[in-house]
């Protein structure tokens, strides 16, 4: 127990040490606090994305899926890499708009594109609400980590409280430093959680460590392990489609993922960062899944696939390797919770509290963001404590996933198409979100009568239909069409250092928009 706890303590001390050493001594502007001054290169962008994308539960739930159901686990590879690829295609327009119009959040972009505060608020609220169950689950994962680390000797409540204390101390720095603190530690946390674990998986697969896991073992796995849902079993043929489609279009809907575009130093950094993310994510996740599939032959793994990662570590290397495995999960969990809390604090301050009628100064924005992060964290901590033994909380996380993808309609159509309007965007998001929530509560997994489609997919269909119909019926004034046209023209030209932003800096209709929203 002491060895494992000691390893966690060393890792944690290094993280805090990095934060202390890299803290900004001067008072940052809100732009620096929220998006790191748009100054980070591709490796930072990539590692930050990977950290916010793969939580600690990847080593428990996804690894357990591979260890229990086999090739099914690889659906995560498809949706994660195909999803982040959309960042490449969106990069030029999203980054240039961000730089030209000083956008700091996903809600900012949607608000600007549709010239509407309600669009901004609804999009931001959906993002904040959808992230909440994941932060709660992330905090509970810390409790689980300490349960494993203590060898089940500490009571459950003590494990959760220690886990919460650890993340609260870490969050002190996130609140204090904002995006900079996040990005600096994401690099180290990511190296431990994803690069190091990928290396560990590779060593296991080469067979040098002996034991049942190896590349050769993959050719001996049972027939059922090689089948995906829909190929036999109780799921219909559209189940896998639903999971992957939701994941692909949902990837940039998560505020934590989208935010990475605005932290980048330029379009080149976003695109190079996307390539690195695909290689990092794909390499790490493929190796992890191969180990999981190869381990299906281990009786102890088959008995409890959710604990497979820890079982394998322990059986291969005793306490030391188990400690390393737990530290890897710890690192992944920390990166995910950090990113979520930071972006929610930012969105509450920037998208919800700040408005045309109540314009906040940089100092006020930072104060609101910091206090929002603290409030969000405290609330998540209380819920994590009260629901630690409730399995239904996982359902909330499922619902939230089906909900967050409803941002995809205005986000993708808004970036790639000049049509649509604010009324269509709001009506679409609200109706799609409601349909997805209700259907997922009734059918948490799939809708058998529809070939195993999920509620989120039907929500998106409703969302898209409502968006197009309401936009067509309510129409778009010529002035608004000209403003959108101007925005798309702005995105055609590079944003260069010291460039004069006028006239594109004052897009047609911006003043009108202010007047309209300020009443």
């Amino acid at each position: 127990m002491l060895v494992v706890l000691g390893m966690l303590a060393v890792f944690y001390a290094i993280v805090i040490g990095i934060l202390y050493a890299t803290q900004q001594r001067t008072r940052p502007s809100f732009d620096e606090y929220s998006v790191g001054g748009r100054s980070y290169g591709p490796w930072y962008v990539a590692m930050s994305y990977v950290n916010s994308w793969w939580p600690g539960s990847t080593f428990i739930a996804f690894f357990g899926l591979a260890a229990g159901a086999g090739v099914f686990g690889l659906y995560g590879l498809a949706y994660s890499t195909l999803g982040v690829a959309t960042m490449y295609f969106m990069a030029t327009r999203a980054w240039r708009w961000g730089a030209r119009y000083d956008l700091r959040s996903q809600g900012d972009l949607l608000g600007l594109r549709f010239n509407s505060r309600p669009v901004k608020v609804v999009a931001s609220v959906i993002g904040i609400v959808s992230l909440f169950p994941w932060v709660v689950l992330g905090m509970q994962a810390f409790g689980e980590i300490f349960r494993y680390a203590s060898g089940d000797r500490w009571p459950v409540t003590a494990c959760l409280l220690v886990g919460l204390a650890v993340i609260v101390v870490r969050q002190y720095w996130t609140v204090r430093m904002g995006m900079r603190g996040l990005i600096m530690t994401d690099m180290f946390q990511g190296l431990v959680a994803y690069v190091f674990s990928a290396g560990l998986c590779l060593v296991l697969l080469t067979g040098v460590a002996g034991g049942p896991i190896s590349f050769a073992a993959l050719s001996r796995v049972s027939e059922s392990v090689l089948r995906v849902p829909g190929d036999g079993g109780h799921y219909g043929p559209l189940y896998l489609f639903s999971l992957i489609f939701t994941g692909v279009i949902g990837s940039l809907c998560w505020p934590t993922s989208f935010q990475r575009i605005y932290t980048a130093a330029g379009v080149r950094a976003v695109k190079a960062g996307t390539i690195r993310t695909i290689l990092l994510s794909g390499g790490f996740y493929t190796l992890l899944m191969l180990v999981g599939i190869a381990a299906t032959a281990m009786p102890a793994v088959a008995a409890n696939p959710q604990a497979a990662w820890f079982t394998i570590m322990s059986s291969y290397g005793g306490t030391w390797l188990l400690g390393l495995g737990i530290t890897i999960v710890f690192a992944a969990s920390m990166g995910h919770v950090d990113g979520s809390v930071q972006v929610c604090g930012l969105q509450i301050a920037n998208d919800l509290v700040n408005s045309g009628r109540r314009q906040l100064s940089d100092a006020q924005l930072m104060r609101v963001a910091k206090s929002s992060m603290i409030g969000y964290m405290v609330l998540a901590g209380i819920v994590a404590y009260l629901t630690f033994n409730l399995t239904r909380l996982q359902l909330l996380a499922q619902v939230s996933y089906q909900g967050i993808v409803q941002l995809a309609v205005p986000l993708f159509l808004g970036v790639f198409w000049r049509g649509g309007n604010a009324r269509g965007a709001v009506a679409g998001m609200v109706s799609g979100f409601a349909v997805a929530m209700v259907l997922t509560l009734i059918y948490p997994d799939d809708i058998a009568g529809l070939g195993s489609l999920t509620g989120g997919i039907l929500g998106i269909a409703v969302n898209l239909l409502v968006f197009l119909v309401v936009s067509a019926v309510t129409g778009t004034p010529g002035e608004e069409r000209a403003r959108v046209q101007e925005m798309f023209e702005v995105a055609r030209n590079p944003v260069r250092a010291g460039a004069q932003s006028a006239p594109v800096a004052q897009p047609l209709g911006a003043s009108l928009l202010r007047e309209q929203l300020d009443g």
Binding site: T81, F89, R117, A216, G282, P494, L513
Partner: protein, 92 residues
């Protein structure tokens, strides 16, 4: 080769790489394709095809996008500097 790449229109290049992306999407999303790849033990590089199906899809996507990046780099379409920001006008 560089002259050839620079000589193409932006539109033709985008269509080419979008087509690669569309193919990888199709293999991941179209049930007849992924169900056809399910349950096949035939080894590819020593690993059953059913597993390699998803790995190959990822590899084609990653290499395709990397190729797109290299082409855009050759054509000088990635250069960007630090921003000269306008006032904060987002949806206000």
């Amino acid at each position: 080769m560089k002259d050839f790449i620079r000589g193409r229109t932006r539109r033709s290049i985008v269509i080419f790489f979008l087509a690669i992306y569309a193919v990888t999407l199709l293999f991941a999303l179209f049930p007849p394709l992924y169900l056809a790849g399910s349950g096949i033990r035939t080894p590819v590089l020593g690993i059953p095809f059913s597993i390699m199906y998803w790995v190959i899809d990822w590899a084609v996507l990653g290499l395709g996008l990397w190729g797109f990046y290299l082409v855009e780099n050759i054509r000088g379409e990635l250069d960007e500097g630090h921003p000269a920001t306008s006032p904060h006008l987002t949806g206000e």
